[in-house]
Amino acid sequence: MASSAVLTATGIVKTFPGARALDGVDFELRRGEVHALLGENGAGKSTLIKCLTGAYRRDGGRVELDGVPIDPRDPLDAQKLGIGTVYQEVNLLPNLSVAENLFLGRQPRRFGLVAPGEMNRRARALLAGYDMDIDVSAPLASYSVAVQQVIAIARAVDLSGKVLILDEPTASLDAQEVRMLFRIVRDLQAKGLGIVFITHFFEQVYAISDRITVLRNGRLVGTRETAQLPRKDLVTMMLGHELHATEKAADTHVENAGPVRYAFHGLGKTGKIKPFDLEIRQGEVVGMAGLLGSGRTETAELLFGVETADSGTCEREGERLSLASPRAAIARGFGFCPEDRKVDGIIGDLSVRENIALALQARRGWMRPLSRKEQDALADRYIKALDIRTTDREKPIRLLSGGNQQKAILARWLATNPEFLILDEPTRGIDVGAHAEIIRLIESLCAQGMSLLVISSELDELVAYSHRVIVLRDREHVAELVGGDVTTENIVEAIAGQDRRRAS
């Protein structure tokens, strides 16, 4: 019984104007199994999910739940059928309260009226299971991506009677939250639910999944038992060829960073981040580690003039700078690739080309437009270089897959050829191939003398390319690891400090 299929999809076809996203894909999910769905950026994972849950109407193929053919007209239908889903990109409503988001459409009622007290109580109870103790009546927007992600998961889990689908749920979570998530997934598994799990983290795939299905360019490559599939083969399945010596770009440290280029003294903003000193050398990569909410993004936003510091100074090779606005920072050769792609990054309706050209154009000013030719060349170069999967450069960027959007934003900043580039979670949601590429990219950039500040929750990644790592805790810079001390263990040590935050 345990091995019988709960959800089977056969010959799923989905065509978008100008793109066949899915081409006869078969997929089988068993009771009580965790099924990893893998593939490069743009392979069609999210599309497949959306076809299963009725978010898209499929153009062909059949879907069965417990052997009964189903055709959910919209996500509501799917929910009713007991399919809970966390879509890629946090898909919650920022203007509603956390509790309302959790119970939208199924609020507890008394005398036909919604009972807020009751709802909030349940919401708190629900989140308690995720070690999260936050004000559930506050609007969702007041919380970070991470918190929102956890809430989205909680909601989906609560909704899923038979099937739980998670599309890159761990993208913006740190190790601790991931561990917690896995604990919950295992419980559900034990209860006999089928769980679909999309991610680009191999550790997680091997840690939790029973079987793996791989897609490439909208076609099914195959389904394997996780136990019988070595990493190397998995990579080959995904990319269609082997991954040349990339991932072990690790211990190749470039010790000889140039002279100090930027020096920040006592920079800080009350309520956001405690004053800190920071020096960045030419051709140096400074990593930044910390728990969610430790204030890494705040630090970055302060450096880039998004938040105006209420204390501290900033010098560039001795001369004073004022970073009143992003524009000012950009004029000084700064670049900032934000963490929240959807809200701070993409200009959804504009084409990939325009999104890539935007920052450069903004710096040149509107009077000196990049000619269409230049823009095309620019776009093409980065589409090729970062391997951005899109039918053509004129496609609205919102129609790109998540990972490819991330690459486009990165391209936007590389195009400005900055001296100092701040990357907040640059590899979030990016596939193995591209992941390796970006790490190589970071290294080649700093080899060419660019200074980088990289925020990431992936510690081994940080270790791989950082000369120095700053560790944050509770909105304070607590430690700095240099050279040989830059190891995963040391970072974890520093993050944990004496008192473990939010011990579970």
Binding site: D74, S142, V306
Partner: protein
């Protein structure tokens, strides 16, 4: 008092202060009579504004309400003049038509994916046009039942009257608040305002809700039409031109975001009263020429908005880049 309800309180404070100032300049404005008039004279606007609040909360807009009010008035007048059916039944008919009208607009907006602005603009033309076709002339309503309805009022201490329609407005607002805050439909409205696509992914029945919203707006506009025909005991196809703008202004002054998703029905009531207050103040002044009247209305409107902004930014240390793309 959290960040969400802040605009509401800000508006309330402004209104109270403004009223105090007016009363200081013209003590006779403090009479319950003036307050009674404030409610009665703005009843139809207030009632319609409730519907508008829902529409705007959902990220839409409804330009048709002014015409629907006029149409309802003419319809009632014509029916009561030419047939012998009882007003109550006529009311039911009118409400049915208005609701259906709204529902159809909602359906067009949802199924044909057309912008509400244009669909309801067409609706505005259509409703006004149908009113013309029913009767160009203004028709008085002499039915005794109207007299009885008008005779229903509660005399407040101080001679002010809380009339039927004035009371009706308050009731409608109460119900509106209840629907917005304490029903699943209400939450769905806010959800649509927060982002229709996301709402759909979260399982909000977008189609049903959209149609419901515009049907509600139509129903309330019909109600407002009844109020207006009671108010003037007549039907006139040129009546209530541009009421939709007054309603929108009331809603926005009441602290609701035109982009949808944030705001309160209660705020709209204050918005309506603020506008009524401006009118009353002007008539009390009685020295202004036609043009200075307009200029002053605009000026006061500006002053209110500015005050609101001020209070808000004072009470929350506005973030540098607080504009978040929806």
């Amino acid at each position: 008092m959290n960040a969400k309800t802040l605009p509401l309180y800000a508006t309330l404070v402004i209104f109270v202060v403004a009223f105090a100032l007016c009363a200081f300049q013209y003590p006779s404005m403090l009479s319950t009579r003036v307050i009674g008039n404030l409610l009665t004279d703005n009843a139809f606007l207030g009632i319609a504004a409730v519907g508008m609040t829902f529409v705007i909360l959902s990220g839409g807009i409804d330009l048709s309400i002014g015409s629907v009010i006029a149409f309802t008035g003419v319809f009632l007048a014509v029916v009561l003049e030419r047939t012998s059916i009882h007003p109550l039944f006529a009311f039911v008919l009118a409400l049915a038509i208005a609701t259906a009208f709204g529902a159809v607009m909602g359906a067009i907006i949802h199924f044909l994916e057309m912008p509400p602005f244009i669909v309801t603009l067409a609706g505005m033309f259509l409703a006004r046009g149908m009113a013309f076709v029913l009767s160009i002339d203004s028709i008085p309503i002499r039915h005794p039942f109207y007299a009885t309805l008008k005779s229903l009022y509660w005399v407040m201490p101080g001679g002010g009257r809380l009339t039927l329609i004035g009371g009706a407005m308050l009731v409608v607002f109460a119900l509106g608040i209840l629907i917005a805050q304490r029903t699943r439909f209400g939450t769905n409205v806010y959800a649509l305002g927060g982002g229709a696509h996301t709402a759909a992914l979260m399982g909000v029945p977008v189609g049903r809700t959209t149609i419901g919203i515009y049907a509600l707006s139509g129903f309330v506009a019909g109600l407002s039409g009844i109020a207006y025909s009671l108010y003037t005991s007549a039907g006139y196809s040129l009546a209530t031109v541009g009421v939709e703008l007054d309603a929108i202004a009331a809603v926005v002054i009441g602290g609701t975001l035109l982009t949808g998703g944030a705001g309160f029905v209660g705020g709209t009531l204050i918005g309506v009263l603020i506008q009524g207050l401006i009118q009353t103040y002007i008539t009390f002044d009685g020295t202004l020429s036609s043009w200075w009247t307009k200029i002053l209305i605009g000026g006061l409107l500006f002053a209110f908005i500015l005050l609101q902004k001020g209070i808000l930014s004072l009470s929350r240390g506005g973030r540098a880049l607080s504009v978040k793309g929806a």
